[in-house]
């Protein structure tokens, strides 16, 4: 039994400790907003926050999260997280998604990135690209991702 705090809720999960966080979320807990893309930390579709840090949940065993906080896309937007809400609003305003499958991971990476910036700092395109280079989008939404992140950064400044 692993004990973690998932999206603010104290949660006991009964899965083998080497089960990746991704499959714990998706198959054991029914939190399917976090996506499976590559299983090898290459595409970023599975990005969640572990104690505030963006991690690839497809290669991180649930045992690592014992006693820690996991935040998924389900709780990153629509709650009281100012940055998460700003990112969500910018994503909708810029109509970023096409197929949308990678966007949970893109949003989790973008949110972690914006939270890592000094307050009020407006990121350059190069900084955005560098922060988002681990997240693949096959539909080609990258231009809008750049614009949405720049917009969200302004909104939280």
């Amino acid at each position: 039994m692993i004990n973690t705090i998932i999206n603010g809720k104290n949660t006991d999960v009964d899965v083998p400790p080497d089960t990746p966080i991704l499959w714990t979320l998706r198959d054991a807990l029914g939190l399917t907003g976090t996506k499976f893309g590559c299983g090898a930390a290459l595409c970023g579709a599975c990005t969640v926050h572990l104690d505030g840090q963006a991690i690839r949940s497809c290669v991180t065993p649930i045992s690592v999260a014992q006693g820690k906080k996991i935040t998924t896309i389900e709780a990153a937007t629509g709650g009281d997280d100012k940055v998460g809400n700003a990112v969500h609003a910018a994503w909708v305003k810029h109509d970023v998604a096409q197929c949308g499958y990678c966007q949970s991971g893109q949003i989790m990476s973008a949110t972690a990135f914006l939270k890592s910036l000094p307050h009020g700092k407006q990121p350059t395109v190069a900084e955005i690209d560098s922060a988002m280079a681990g997240n693949i989008c096959r539909c080609g939404t990258y231009t809008r991702i750049r614009a949405a992140i720049a917009d969200a950064a302004k909104a939280i400044a």
Partner: protein, 744 residues
Amino acid sequence: MLPNIDYSELPRALQHILNRDNPDVPATPSRRSFLKMAGISGFALGAFPGMVLAQSTNAAKPLGPTQQPSAFVEIAADGTVTVTINRLDFGQGVQTALPMILAEELDADWAKVHSKHGNSDGAYVDPVMGLHLTGGSNSIKNSFTQYRELGARARAMLIAAAAKQWNLDPAQLRTTAGEVIAPDGRKLGYGELAQSAMEQAVPETVKLKDPKDFRLIGKPTNRLDSVAKSSGQQSYGIDTHLPGQLTAVVLRPPVFGAKIATLDDSAARGVHGVKAVLRVPLDRGAEGIAIIGDGYWSAKQGRDAVKVTWDTSGVEKVDTKKQFAQYRQLAKQAGNKYFDADVTPISTAAKKIHAEFTFPYLAHAPMEPLNCTVKFNSDSAELWLGSQMPGLDGMMAARVLGLKPEQVKVNVQMAGGGFGRRAIATSDYVFEACSIAKAVKTAGLDVPVRTMWSREDDIRGGYYRPAQLHQASIGLDAHGKVLAWDHVIVGQSITAGTAFEGFMIKNGIDNTAVEGMREPYDLPMKLTVHHPKLNVPVLWWRSVGSTHTAFVMETLIDEIAHASKKDPVAYRLEAYGDKHLRHRAALQLAVEQSGYGKKALPKGHAWGVAVHESFQTVVAYVVEASLKNGKPVMHRATAGVHCNLAVNPRTIETQVQGAALMGLSMCLPGAAITFKDGVVEQSNFSDFVVPRITEMPEIAVFIVPSAEPPTGMGEPGLPPLAPAFANAVYKLTGKPIRQLPFNV
């Protein structure tokens, strides 16, 4: 996606083929099928009894299932309008554009419009082609008038209901944004009228709006699914979760079509969560092992624990290094002739171009790995998957499960990309998922099964854009005028051996291999084609034949322009003359907007241009590129698009940007599937490389204004991008690029 052909004979041909294989399939969808659609979450207009009345009073030409509003629009008491789309949305935005078209004629309040996917019911076939299909960039092109008429019919029924209530002549009433309005200003909302509207007759003929009165069509509109997709709430096929459901992962042979030699599954059976390990038949006569687990992880752990040896003795083992040598040998032989011309002037021509092009196999690699969930009861089955051809997939399911086609329902799920991989004549992964469901049932587990592919399964699982060899010999006079062009294409046929063969292959030539050749240039070209048979499953990849023909044509046109000492834009405009006005308009728009020929470029930068028509849409690119440490870099692209009437300019822009990035992906290192001893050498995004945000150029999209009926938009943005980039690099290096990915 499907190739760019004239589909006029397709419905009949395909029905014939399908009926031959499945005598139980009705030639046309049954009328009963759409009656079942009525009243799920609201009032499905025209479901009964008015529809029957309408048809019985005009028996000459009753409305078909694709014309009945009942299957496409539901209006709830609160005025919410839900439009069912007859296509798969996998990013291209028909989930928004089709409702826009219907809502336009319905005069709905756009703020209250939602949309949902259809299923394998007969109402959701492509109205032109007569089969369920999302492909060939056909969704808007073939359903534009259909969805307008559906909206207009529903509107007429709402007006009829209001007229009855007010005791007024329907002709006196008008509508706006979800309300019927009487001459004296009284109003009734669509929600209030929905129930009584159901009792009104479905009009056969309806008057459509004058396009100048459009409020929604043509207006850049945000996607209806933006909020769900920006908050993790959008459900995809892979998210299907039914009570008791188990997950299957398959161990497939390393060479296509191979069988199991020895199997030891004892360790796999011992893995926590593994419920069964089953031998199952796979696509192409192969055999594999399905590991059934309580989730993906246990099934995958089980798969890793299976000890197996394979019998590959009976199957061909392709080797990429030898393959092109074999193709070159084939190119020397007489092939099937697609175009004919006298090529004797080449030998004595003042100038000659001899060019050979090679293109590798390419995987589609959509972000959502393939998956299919099957609930198999004894006398029916239900499937959930993101399918581009749910009708064909349902028939395959019926065949595997021993059911009649009407006993199978395919629920179309939002898909995380596809690019053609989910439109597959052999229904490979549906065959596999149903074989597993059957084996699971036989093993005594009466539960739904979701079969899932890993990324490695996807990259190694076949159905690639076929590798191609092109050879061109061109003879020019001293001024650069083309005297003769002798061209050979060698590549596998995509449709040979499938249900599409009968009308795609003519004189031994698969149309998907040659589409995009020669046009729009008036050239004396001889084109011969060879289709070698190899043990590699191949498939259409976004824009199909144009993925290679556009590159060959548009880079050679630049070489010819160079030989003629003409500017590449001027050369093309002259070639279009007054015959190809859409090409001209698209190119001129891209030239104007990019500043080509006017704007000074930074030192070391060069322009590149290419234009190509596919799926009846013309896209022109003007790109700007440079070399960084000797490697080509594309900085920006300006697109001129001629797609006739632009229904949703916002999704057209994103389709062009996405297609451009996919076109760019073909140029970059790592964009190739290669074989050694029959085994795919790549496995994941580490070695089958796709572009990341760091490689994304600026892509500005401009649309030529037009009021003509819309043409395809999902694919046409792809073909001209790579040749435009290559032409810019040619200008920088003086050496033409004739290999993809670029060998610079």
